[in-house]
């Protein structure tokens, strides 16, 4: 039962970023980023740490100054708008709840700044606290709450002001795995219900795939690819995206005619998708779950099982090919260590370079 | 409205200095109540219309304060400090002549200072550290090597102390620089005269010099000290007072200064404070030997020479 008004007082906005660059001293943290977030969309910025995703989010909030470029809300340039005038909800990684104020006071703060009448504040705060199921603890201090409750309180504080745009900076990274999964569905459902535009920063690709309408994968201050979760996972534009999102195998080799020839000379006649000129291809990519174990004539590669990990719903094997290259393969069945097996590769994507090695 | 008036009154009182009404004397003193109290009480009894305000501090502090305030002096009179101090800061003082200067043992030809009391500066040993057989009878014995084992000798650094200057200048004049050089090499210099006195009293050193009035009081209290008037010579220190140039109440200050130098004031200094008067017609406290019976070393070389030689010898 909730009396929180889910009809939006302010319509969701679009956010356009054009040639955005941010500089910290000598360091160019963002290099010419172009992105458009559509109204009502749950948009995720995904990337390894240091890729600039948080910097971009903070720039939208107005906490960073742009060295170049512009950010527009609904076509209106906000570069000169002070952060406290942008009317944005922001959920921080460490929640940033004020320890000296109760949960109620924390959530009510934004409404007080907007000079909302006292009785309306009480009503709206109660509404949003019910929505996040914290009505019982309104009078307690943040220090008395569990991590998950604090996270929901931080979310309530950000949405109670009816922001047309909500920014979330890795809001779940401080929580344990199980709670993360539950809460991210909760956040998704709430955002859909509130119908506001949300930009969500995470380094967890699984989380990004689960909740996003669209994802921008970022690397070294640039956008590597923008797309729906399926586009990002199935058709990565670059070996970096392929490698960062999900598990990936890369086989070194070249394109000869319509086939892919590995470094050790094995010829693979499979459907090829190319991300560049055929002559520039240096490696080919395939997901572990796409490789099939088989010993019949359709097997194209042979290798020795070196190691196996069990994930409950599937096994993941590390298989060494001749010449030392290793492939990850997922199956429903167990394979004995040391067994020599054949594999079928249904398709490959060619990239001009191996992904940057990751630690 | 009432609150406003009160606020203004308060603000005004916070900003105000002492209201300088007539009949007030501001005295900067290097002495505590034990020295000034009795004389001031007698003065107040005689001049009920004059308020005496005391600001007490260390000698060097007070002279520097007068110097810093010279543009707009707050003090009328400085009381205490050696005549060397008054000579260093002579520009800050106005002449004042006591009517009975003729009987004074020490006189400033420019009358910038007046002698308040004088004290001979005998040796003082710590009796816990030194047994009677080892008491020195002459200054010459200070050079004896035995003092290193008994706890050492302290001497106030003439760079920091008028007392130190008087002693070194007197010894150099009376005993010669060969002796004095050896002495300066031997002693531990203290940063002022009080540290020298207390070092011997507290047994931190076996031997030093002392102002006789203090030494006499300590002996009378049964503290482990013994004053010895060396037979070969000792120095005399003068404790002075002076009229601050441009002070706000010179007339009343002169009355107080005259009272301090008067027979009545000097008798109080002798009887209550137990100090020796610089006036020849006021006899010393009973327990102190007559000055004339002592072989006195006068001050010969000037401050800058004594300071420079002392520093030179110490840094060799």
């Amino acid at each position: 039962m909730t009396n929180f008004d889910t009809r939006r007082a302010s319509e969701p906005v679009s956010v356009e970023m054009s040639s955005v660059a941010v500089r910290f001293g000598e360091l160019l943290a963002l290099k010419s980023v172009d992105l458009t977030v559509r109204p009502g969309e749950l948009f995720t910025l995904l990337g390894p740490s240091g890729c600039g995703k948080t910097t971009l989010l903070r720039s939208i909030a107005g906490f960073n100054c742009l060295a170049e470029g512009h950010i527009r809300f609904n076509g209106r340039n906000v570069d000169q708008l002070q952060p406290w005038n942008r009317n944005i909800g922001f959920v921080f990684q460490n929640y940033a709840l004020w320890p000296t104020k109760t949960i109620f006071e924390n959530v009510a703060y934004g409404l007080r700044m907007r000079k909302v009448p006292r009785d309306e504040i009480v009503r709206r705060v109660a509404g949003v606290l019910d929505l996040v199921e914290l009505g019982e603890v309104a009078s307690q201090y943040p220090g008395q709450l569990s991590g998950g409750m604090q996270q929901r309180a931080a979310l309530a504080r950000a949405v109670v002001i009816d922001p047309p745009l909500l920014l979330l900076d890795e809001p779940l990274s401080n929580l344990d795995a199980k709670l993360r999964v539950t809460l991210r569905r909760g956040i998704r459902e709430m955002l859909v219900r509130l119908g506001l535009t949300a930009i969500y920063v995470t380094h967890d690709q699984e989380e990004a795939l689960d909740i996003s309408d669209r994802i921008a994968v970022m690397n070294r201050g640039r956008v590597a690819q923008v797309g729906t979760p399926r586009e990002i996972y199935d058709q990565p534009d670059s070996s970096f995206v392929a490698d960062f999102v999900g598990k990936a195998n890369f086989i070194e080799g070249r394109v000869v005619g319509k086939s892919f020839v590995t470094r050790t000379g094995t010829r693979l006649d499979v459907p090829l998708r190319l991300a560049c000129e055929a002559s520039n291809v240096r490696c080919a990519f395939i997901r572990p779950e796409d490789i099939e174990i088989r010993s019949d004539a359709r097997s194209q590669l042979r290798g020795t099982v070196e190691g196996t990990s069990y994930f409950g719903s599937f096994f993941q094997h590390r298989i060494a090919l001749e010449g030392g290259q290793k492939l990850f393969v997922q199956t429903r069945t167990h394979l004995d260590l040391g067994r020599v097996t054949g594999m079928q590769i249904p398709h490959l994507t060619g990239y001009p370079e191996l992904p940057p090695s990751q630690d | 409205m009432k609150n406003l008036t009160r606020a203004i009154t308060l603000a005004a009182s916070i900003l105000s200095t002492t209201s300088l009404h007539a009949g007030e004397v501001v005295v900067y003193a290097a002495h505590g109540d034990d020295v000034t109290g009795a004389i001031l009480d007698a003065f107040r009894a005689r001049h009920t219309d004059i308020d005496v305000t005391l600001v007490v501090g260390k000698t060097g502090d007070m002279f520097q304060r007068i110097k810093a305030e010279a543009g707009n002096p707050a003090a009328d009179m400085m009381w205490g400090g050696s005549i060397q101090s008054y000579e260093v800061f002579a520009d800050l003082f106005a002449p004042f002549e006591n009517e009975n200067e003729a009987s004074m043992a020490f006189v400033d030809p420019d009358h910038k200072w007046q002698a308040f009391t004088v004290f001979a500066q005998p040796l003082m040993v710590n009796t816990d550290l030194v047994d009677e057989a080892n008491y020195p009878s002459t200054v010459a014995e200070v050079l004896d090597r035995k003092w290193d084992d008994l706890g050492g000798v302290v001497l106030a650094d003439p760079n920091d102390s008028g007392t130190g200057h008087t002693i070194v200048s007197g010894l150099a004049g009376g005993m010669g620089w060969d002796f004095t050089t050896e002495l300066i090499k031997r002693v531990r210099p203290t940063p002022g005269s009080d540290p020298m006195f207390t070092a011997v009293r507290d047994g931190e050193a076996a031997l030093g010099w002392v102002n006789e009035d203090l030494g006499a009081k300590w002996e009378a209290e049964g503290l482990p000290v013994k004053m010895i008037y060396p037979t070969d010579g000792l120095t005399v220190q003068v404790d002075a007072y002076g009229l601050v140039a441009g002070g706000p109440n010179p007339e009343d200050a002169r009355k107080l200064m005259a009272f301090i130098g008067s027979t009545e004031g000097q008798i109080l200094a002798v009887e209550v404070v137990k100090r020796r008067s610089p006036r020849s017609n006021v006899p010393p406290p009973g327990e102190l030997p007559a000055l004339a019976s002592l072989p006195l070393f006068p001050e010969v070389e000037p401050r800058s020479v004594i300071k420079a030689k002392f520093t030179d010898i110490r840094s060799q």
Binding site: N87 | G32, V88, F106, L214, N281
Partner: protein, 675 residues
């Protein structure tokens, strides 16, 4: 873009400049003014001798029995003996002469501005009841100068010393060269550094473990220990250091009972006493840090298999370094600028503060250029310390204070034993002065030494002193505390958060200066600026308040800074994103979270203002006479009645400690309410 903070920062910097830099600028200026030099001649009959020891800048080029030629850089001076105690001085141009008294005169020409002073043997006129040393009462021949063609002829007393001091000064770095090449001065520098480093290290090693134990575990007397360490951060003025000497001096009470051949006087004793003086500063800032630390940091380390000790060393200490460094910095500066302890706990140990004191305030006239040079050297060393502190802090990322509060654990027996041992040791040592003063206030004092006789006379004497001084002390210190609370927290905020390119570091440096300017030097600066001219404040209530506020402001700034370094900036950004303007963020979000640091800082400011002595002595004037001055008056000479001073000290401590005790109790209750 209007940034209200930038305006405020500018206002603070201008104010700090007017109240700190301008009054003290004379020191720096003086350090770069080279004195004109001096020489002394000894005239004995026809002989003229240059006194070798007393030559500054002048050097003799030729000396015959009847004349002396002296050279200073390019300037040459020839003095020739004339009959009848006269001396001719060759001077170019038309010299100007002026008599300054019987023994003093001034000679000025284009190159020199000499002050000449003669000293003949000082006569002792023993008058009617004795003989004078030479049997007659002659007046000294006055020093007189007359301008003649080609110079000046002076006539002087018989066998006189004539000291020539050139008052002209010029810009030069010669003072620093001289300072650095004089072993006596460099020894003072070395002693200062040894005391500072040794005392701060020992104090840190003692204070940090105790702070940690009290921040993590629950003990029956936990609150009491915290309160008492706060109390220990001040010691009774003057008598504090003296207590150690009374107990552990060569014939101290304890030394005598144990029959030791030992004395606390010396470098070792200074370090010992300073340790107990400064550790409360480290303890208090560190305790705030440990208490505010996100417990998950430690818990995560422990979950990774770190033992309690390893978590302490590898996680908690690094995370709390801002607090530890701040405390150690304040402690180091306090040790570095301490004058009283080396003065009382040694006979002849020279450190920078005592060197500066004796050269500025020598009763026989010091050398202001040495004093100012030493001050600038001290300033440079302290700036080095400040830079070190900044570098160490900047290298630390912000330790996050999350909303989770750590709850206190029950200690095991070894932990409890260790905590009890440390508490008893450290409180015991810190309160030695207080207890000694307290006990001796009930004993009879005679001519500056304590006896074994019980008496209440000291307290009777106390009531005869000016007790209105209590009001003066409390009102000036109270006002100074209020000001430093207001400006301390906001200046800390400008330094830590705003990070303006020039304003923030400038403000930081300027505000910290008073901590290392000796109180007497500070006060002289205030007299020079406020005794004359447009604003006359000397002798007022306001100048004491201002002096306390400015001198103790560093404590408020630094303790607030330490807390700010631990508040994650997201706390403020959260408010900004919700529509709070920067001033509201500060007032409504930052200030409430800074309360812990601000209470510590304000307490230090208040306690230290009430017990301030060195600047007070030069600045107060009745009726605005604070308690510290009244206490000091009772100890002015070695024959004073220290008993009344002891009783007054007990009264002062009681006045300070009762409200402090209540305040700490209240704070503790607040913490409990929030759990």
């Amino acid at each position: 873009m209007t940034d209200i903070w930038k305006w405020f920062a500018t206002f603070c910097l201008v104010g700090a400049t007017l109240l700190i830099v301008v009054p003290q600028a004379w020191i720096v200026a003086a350090s770069f003014r080279q004195a004109g030099g001096q020489f002394t001649l000894h005239r004995d009959a026809d002989r003229l001798e240059v006194v070798r020891a007393d030559l500054k800048r002048f050097g003799p080029v030729a000396e015959t029995t009847g004349a002396a030629r002296l050279l200073r850089d390019e300037d040459e001076l020839t003095l020739t003996v004339l009959p009848n105690q006269r001396l001719s001085i060759d001077l170019e141009g038309t010299p100007f002469v002026e008599s300054l008294g019987t023994n003093r005169l001034r000679i000025v020409n284009g190159g020199f501005d000499f002050r000449v002073e003669q000293q003949a043997v000082r006569r002792i006129h023993l008058g009617a009841f004795a003989q004078s040393t030479d049997g007659s009462r002659k007046t000294v021949q006055p020093l007189v100068a007359k301008v003649v063609p080609g110079g000046v002829v002076i006539s002087h007393a018989e066998t006189a010393y004539l000291t020539f001091v050139d008052g002209r000064t010029n810009w030069s770095i010669q003072n620093f060269r001289g300072f650095l090449s004089t072993s006596h001065y460099m020894e003072a520098v070395r002693n200062s550094i040894v005391i500072t480093v040794a005392a701060t290290s020992v104090a840190t090693l003692l204070a940090v473990p105790l702070a940690w134990l009290l921040a993590r575990y629950t003990f029956p007397y936990r609150t009491l220990v915290v309160t008492m360490v706060t109390m220990a951060s001040v010691s009774p003025p003057f008598l504090g250091a003296y207590s150690w000497r009374m107990l552990l001096g060569s014939s101290g009470i304890i030394t005598n009972v144990l029959g030791m051949e030992w004395s606390i006087l010396g470098l070792h004793g200074v370090i010992w006493v300073v340790v107990w003086l400064i550790y409360p500063l480290i303890f208090l800032t560190t305790l705030d840090s440990f208490s505010g630390l996100d417990p998950t940091l430690r818990e995560s380390a422990q979950s990774l298999g770190a033992s309690r000790l390893r978590a302490f060393l590898n996680v908690e200490i690094p995370s709390c370094l801002p607090g530890i460094i701040t405390g150690a910095y304040l402690a180091a500066l306090t040790a570095f600028s301490d004058f009283g302890t080396p003065f009382i706990i040694s006979l002849d140990l020279t450190v920078l503060p005592t060197l500066i004191y004796s050269e500025f305030l020598s009763e026989v006239g010091g050398d202001p250029s040495v004093a100012s040079t030493a001050s600038v050297v001290m300033l440079a060393l302290a700036t080095g310390l400040l830079t070190l502190q900044r570098l160490l802090l900047v290298a630390r990322s912000f330790a996050s204070v999350t909303s989770r509060q750590s709850f206190l654990e029950r200690p095991s027996v070894p932990v409890r034993t260790l905590a009890a041992f440390l508490s008893v040791l450290m409180l015991g040592m810190a309160f030695v002065p207080h207890v000694t003063v307290g006990v001796t206030s009930f004993l009879e004092w005679r001519v500056g030494t304590v006896t074994g006789n019980f008496t209440l006379q000291n307290y009777a004497g106390m009531f005869r002193t000016e007790l209105a001084s209590i009001f003066v002390s409390l009102s000036t210190a109270g006002a100074a505390t209020a000001l430093s609370l207001l400006f301390g927290t906001s200046i800390a905020y400008i330094i830590v958060r705003k990070r303006y390119r020039i304003l923030s570091p400038a403000l930081n440096a300027v505000v910290m200066l008073p901590l290392i300017i000796p109180g007497t030097v500070f006060a002289i600066g205030y007299i020079l600026v406020f005794n004359d001219g447009p604003i006359i404040l000397t002798g007022t209530w306001l100048i004491l308040t201002l002096a306390y506020f400015i001198r103790k402001l560093p404590f408020a700034v630094k303790t607030s800074e330490a807390v700010l370094y631990q508040i994650h900036p997201a706390m403020e950004e959260a408010a900004v994103s919700l529509g709070a303007t920067p001033d509201k963020v500060f007032r409504q979000i930052v200030v409430p979270m800074m309360v812990a640091g601000a209470v510590t800082g304000s307490t230090l400011v208040f306690l230290r203002s009430v017990t301030e002595l060195s600047a007070t002595i030069l600045l107060f004037r009745p009726p605005w006479r604070p308690m510290s001055a009244v206490i000091f008056e009772q100890t002015i000479s070695p024959g004073s009645n220290f008993g009344v001073a002891a009783a007054l000290s007990v009264l002062m401590m009681a006045i300070l400690y009762v409200p402090l005790f209540l305040l700490t109790r209240r704070r503790q209750k607040l913490e409990v309410a929030q759990l």
